[in-house]
Symmetry: D2
Subunit: 206 residues, 4 copies
């Protein structure tokens, strides 16, 4: 029904999360009314992403490829004393913007599935294990692993899974495992707070 190049582009937009056929075609028609330079600039930016951005081989954040180095500046450094484990790139950004965390990260790329099948996330948890095996050899004191997964069923299941995988390091006192503090968060109305949150909020009162 559409001209072919429109249809092809609609299909690319539909691969993006949350984009259905209607919104994808709205995108394409919006672009059609932009001048050609803009569309070409968009295409170039995509090409540049493909050529120059990769994931750090150690912490999996997105980095600009420089020379032949495949790890980010932070992971290239010698010492890491703490690692914040997050689900998504966006979580890393949210926390990074606050300036509250200066130490290393580990990006899981999502949460584990209920089927416990091998996925990108379990691969990256395995990579976290290997990373710690390597790093703890030379560390002077236990590395702190902060599990900063979301306070959702999936996030909690993922944190539990990681706790089990990393248990050997905890036993050997090579790492300490912590989880983010729970309580009422900005915007919470008491009437709608769940028992678990209330319990933590009362316990951590001060």
């Amino acid at each position: 029904m559409y001209p072919n190049p429109i249809q092809k582009l609609v299909e690319y937009f539909m691969r993006l999360p949350g984009i259905g056929p209607r919104q994808a075609s709205r995108f394409v028609y919006t672009l059609l009314d932009e001048d050609i330079k803009t569309i070409e600039g968009f295409a170039d930016a995509l090409g540049e992403l493909a050529r120059t951005v990769a994931r750090c081989a150690e912490c999996f954040r997105g980095i600009e490829k420089k020379n032949s180095n495949s790890v980010c500046d932070q992971c290239a450094g010698n010492t890491i004393t703490a690692i914040l484990v997050v689900e998504k790139d966006q979580d890393l950004e949210t926390i990074s913007k606050t300036g509250l965390w200066q130490d290393a990260y580990h990006v899981l790329g999502g949460t584990i599935t209920l089927l416990n099948e091998k996925t990108r996330v379990t691969d990256r948890i395995r990579a976290l294990y290997d990373r710690l095996a390597r790093r703890t050899k030379t560390a002077e004191k236990p590395i702190e692993i902060v599990l900063a997964t979301s306070a959702t069923t999936e996030g909690d299941a993922t944190a539990l899974y990681i706790e089990r995988v990393l248990e050997p390091f905890v036993k050997e006192k090579k790492i300490t495992l912590t989880r983010l503090g729970r309580g009422i968060s900005t915007g919470t109305e008491m009437e709608f707070a769940d028992p678990q949150t209330l319990k933590n909020a009362l316990k951590n009162r001060k």
Copy 2:
């Protein structure tokens, strides 16, 4: 347009929070298809509320009037060691259902307004002051006041206001003032967590 008794009842339903004319008339027509006994039972339940329920003169929760006593069983007791200050009756219920709090409450009936005018809420904060003046005279150790207002702008403003009002008691070490612990709450996705919540969540990690 409607028969008069329908119109009158529609207006009563519209006094309830969140109910507009459309929903109010839906209520009335639903009742019209109930049998007369049900409608009369509803009317009786309202009458009974008016006759037999009142607010405790000390903590302002809803109680059944018994004899001439105007305070709830808890406030009638001699000793109170801690008071949980909540905005609404529903907050009291939410917490009370968890069984996490066995001590006394103080129901504010809402939050203070930005204009700082005299309202039901400021009256009840004044009553809290008087309550403490009376109670701390005989208390053996400082009474803990837990400010359990919502983590909203209005809730925070109300907590701050109460802190200022109760400051004299704190200085004389007759009370201690605490606030609910903050952190990520059940359901929070890290990507959408605000800086203040993240800060508390990182600080309270364990």
Copy 3:
């Protein structure tokens, strides 16, 4: 957990359409802060509804009971030339407010269920049949029955069901059956219009 009279009233409010336990208890606590006169006025209005309002025995709209008469003024009149069949009391109100329809109504009290079981609605469709059997005897020309059910699956199914039930009258030319005109309605954006609506909108263009 609540005082008994509160619990009882919460349960009455929960019988109203769309009202869950949370909102029901919000209603009761709102009432508790009203003065006693208001609550008693509410109870009286309910009592008055039970005593003085009923449904017209012929068209089923809500009417004030007067003397022993059980039909509305309109149905008490001798001649009816057209009947607008609506699902709900609120539909009657919506149309009645526009002043576009001066003739008689028939309120179904809902839509037929998919199970085609005997319900209030099928009873009232049967009553419509009887009403027509009686009215067409003396009518000088065919009575027009306008099926004004909603343009939803349920509304359409109900209209179809009524068409089948009233078919004998149509064959004998005692009534004419019409349905509301279809097309784009106020607020419709063309992008989201369904094929059936577009078809009618194009066919009825002018």
Copy 4:
């Protein structure tokens, strides 16, 4: 904060309608986990759109550029008997998919603004005027112009504006102007129908 190429691409995605910074960055990170071929394919599809798709010089729909021809097959034909005037490319698609309209279109590219300033839309209405001036010279009978703008305030204002602009052609009987039929549309519940829609639905009943 992000690597530069990510930031640049985020900004391109943010030019798309309804896309904020959060969703734009989600798009980029999703792409980062696709293989390079896919990203390059996406870039190529954008380049192809820029090179090979344009708007028909007469009706403004999106078409593949062929040779030097700048009008679509339909506009290249000799005879046009009716033109359906739509706001957006998506409206054309919605209608075109139904197969209900086989004749010509005119895509406005939006609605007129309240300020009545010169915009793409007013340019295309001017182009419609010119198109008719040219086409009606050779037409054997009046061309029908169907104004198929949305049933919204903006759509109605745009239709009114076009009616004024095309009035001379109507007076000379060179065109006829029609609008889509109004009535209840699929999904409309009677309770929520507006008076204008009810009026049309009653008038067009059958």
